[in-house]
């Protein structure tokens, strides 16, 4: 089992992983802000909700301040994976690197920066940060991992990481081929996150309702089916039905506070006028569709509209003026 683990990025997912794994491993956390690192070093990391933990972690903004790791889990946004990987070049060159980003393509960003063995990860858990040192564990759904085909980690390492997750209180499972899982999640995110971002609705029951012709469930279902056709043409058979994942997600999700509707990260980004991860999510489906020569007009439309929404926060291009 990896003794020393770095977690890069301490958003909700990174914090949940770091706090749990610190129960069994020595965990270093790399963050961007010095005050974030200082707060973690002074106060530790508190987890509430589905787990009640208080973890000691060693946090830093520079890799040189942390002892060399066996495993690095990159838990930044997809857009920061390349930059995060460059940080690992000297201090973590002998580690195994694991990604947990939404969408496809994070592994490629890692391997273009170094020749680490890579574990692909897909996580379904969710949480809410209540500050730099407190995260609430909301959905205790599993994290699925497997060797990345183009730079595979050893099978024993993948199994050991899954065991570390499980024994530290998270849910996890190891797979030989993660693509069917990744594509299931990809299609789920490309559908639910974009619909949420454009309507500004959290993931509510309307996403699974198909009574009236104008009910959102029809669009969600059509996006899922279009995504499935792209996956099939890419030679991937889905592990889970994203429509069922959608229906399940809106039918449960109770926390101790009662009824609950998840706010997808893309909606959080839209509300904050921040760049979304749509290039890695819908963009991946549209690019795969083009590569395989199949049509994906609905995903293309959702992709363009979210990109346009991002553009609307800025003025027109300079060349027009």
């Amino acid at each position: 089992m990896p003794k020393r683990v770095w977690v890069v990025g301490a958003g909700a997912i990174g914090s949940l992983i770091a706090g749990h794994l610190a129960q069994l491993s020595e965990v270093g956390v790399l963050v961007r802000r010095q005050e974030h690192a200082d707060a973690l070093n002074a106060n530790g990391l508190r987890i509430s909700g589905k787990s009640q933990l208080h973890a000691q972690v060693l946090a830093a903004v520079e890799p040189a301040q942390l002892p060399a790791p066996d495993l690095v889990i990159i838990a930044t946004k997809a857009a920061q994976v390349a930059e995060a990987s460059r940080l690992l070049a000297s201090q973590a060159k002998d580690a195994t690197v694991m990604t947990v980003q939404n969408g496809l393509g994070a592994e490629t960003l890692v391997t273009s920066e170094g020749d680490w063995p890579v574990i692909s990860g897909v996580t379904f858990m969710s949480g809410t940060r209540h500050g730099d040192t407190h995260v609430e564990y909301e959905l205790d759904t599993p994290t699925w991992i497997g060797p990345y085909a183009a730079a595979p980690a050893e099978r024993a390492m993948v199994t050991a990481v899954a065991e570390l997750f499980v024994e530290s209180g998270l849910r996890a499972e190891a797979f030989d081929d993660l693509l069917p899982v990744q594509w299931s999640k990809l299609i789920f995110n490309a559908t639910v996150n974009t619909v949420s971002a454009l309507t500004e609705l959290p993931h509510v029951g309307l996403f699974a309702r198909r009574g009236e012709v104008s009910d959102l469930g029809h669009l969600v279902h059509d996006l899922v089916e279009e995504g499935r056709r792209v996956a099939e043409s890419a030679g991937v058979e889905l592990h889970d039905d994203p429509w069922e994942m959608n229906a399940l997600a809106v039918s449960r999700g109770e926390t101790d506070e009662g009824d609950y509707a998840h706010v997808p990260s893309m909606l959080t980004d839209v509300r904050a006028h921040q760049h979304t991860e749509v290039d890695f999510i819908s963009g991946s489906i549209v690019r795969e569709a083009a590569r395989c020569g199949v049509e994906a007009p609905l995903h293309a439309a959702m992709y363009r509209m979210v990109k346009a929404r991002e553009a609307s926060w800025n003025g027109p291009e300079d060349w027009r003026v």
Binding site: L198, T199, L201, P202, S214, L219, S251, A261, V263
Partner: protein, 324 residues
């Protein structure tokens, strides 16, 4: 003037006001206006209805919020938002027992609703635009033509359609009477359905939507579905909606224009999407023409409207209203 023709504007918003104020200048027409906005009605009765901008006029006319007080009229002209057609007709239909009622509203389905209340209906489409800038005062932004024709299932006499078109034209609102007004109507519906929801969902002005090539391609996808639904009804479009879209994108025309649906969404007002993309989708479904893109934006805009009823991020009791 015992032989003057009485015309009642039903819904005296921006477009209704353009017709009302201009028609009030004709000697052979008596203009009435019905609207639910008391301040606007009071201002019209006190000072007349003033237009400024692309054309200047002050129309003297009688306005009311009390539909029951309306006398018998020869013509009605419905200019409410499409989602208020039924309630407006329910209130005013008694005044048109012997009259003909025309509509120049946006979208598909207004004539059918009006025909549930009155016997003689005129289909219409109008292109001028404006906005109310204060009670009793409308800014006339864009001039444009109007097309009128009988609504075939419950048609007005063609002579009456021609008389009304002539009156509009004499009043300064150039109008053509045609036997089949569906072509221009569908051109405008397709234009609105392809541009309004994209502006509303992205927050971009019309010009910025058009200069994003993949987004402009999506707009064309919406247009193509609308054209297919029009063709399945054997409607001949009077011109290509694509030309209207490109024309409007020019800096000197409507580059900076925020689609009315975007204005509605920003103000959290219910939109006309049910009559635009919803209308295209419903007719397409009846005729076996697939309209997946129009159906998609219809449900997205409905979702946007729904989001205003949430209390905020992760609002509680969401599943109570959305589940099942």
């Amino acid at each position: 003037m015992s032989d003057s023709i009485r015309i009642c504007i039903v819904g005296c918003g921006a477009v209704g006001s353009l017709f009302a104020a201009n028609l009030a200048g004709l000697d052979d027409v008596e203009v009435l206006a019905y609207d639910v906005n008391q301040e606007h009605v009071d201002a019209i009765n006190a000072n007349g209805l003033r237009l400024s901008g692309a054309g200047e006029a002050v129309g003297l006319l009688s306005a009311t919020t009390d539909a029951g007080s309306l006398p018998q009229c020869d013509f009605g002209l419905v200019t409410t938002k499409a989602l208020h057609t039924a309630s407006a007709m329910q209130a005013t239909a008694h005044a048109f027992a012997d009259g003909a009622v025309a509509t120049v509203q946006n979208g598909i389905g207004n004539e059918e609703i009006i025909a549930e209340y009155v016997a003689r209906v005129i289909r219409g489409t109008t292109f001028p635009a404006g906005k109310i800038i204060e009670p009793g005062h409308v800014q006339w932004d864009v001039k444009g033509g109007t097309i009128l024709g009988p609504f075939e299932p419950k048609p007005a006499q063609y002579a009456d359609v021609e008389w009304l078109a002539d009156a509009f034209t004499r009043a300064g609102m150039p109008t053509n009477a045609v036997a089949d007004a569906r072509g221009p109507q569908w051109r405008k519906v397709i234009f609105n359905a392809a541009t309004n929801p994209v502006g509303a969902l992205t927050g971009l002005t019309h010009g910025r939507v058009c200069e994003d090539p993949p987004l402009r391609q999506f707009v064309s996808g919406l247009v193509d579905e609308g054209k297919a639904v029009a063709a399945a009804q054997e409607i001949q479009l009077d011109a290509d909606p694509e030309d209207l879209i490109d024309h409007a994108a020019k800096p000197e025309v409507a580059y900076e224009h925020k689609a009315s649906m975007l204005q509605d969404v920003e103000a959290k007002r219910q939109t006309e999407v049910d009559f635009l993309n919803g209308g295209i989708t419903r007719v397409g479904e009846r005729l076996g023409v697939a309209t997946p893109l129009n159906a998609a934006v219809w449900s997205l805009i409905r979702g946007v409207e729904r989001s205003w009823r949430q209390d905020g991020p992760g609002a509680s009791n969401m599943n109570e209203t959305d589940g099942g």
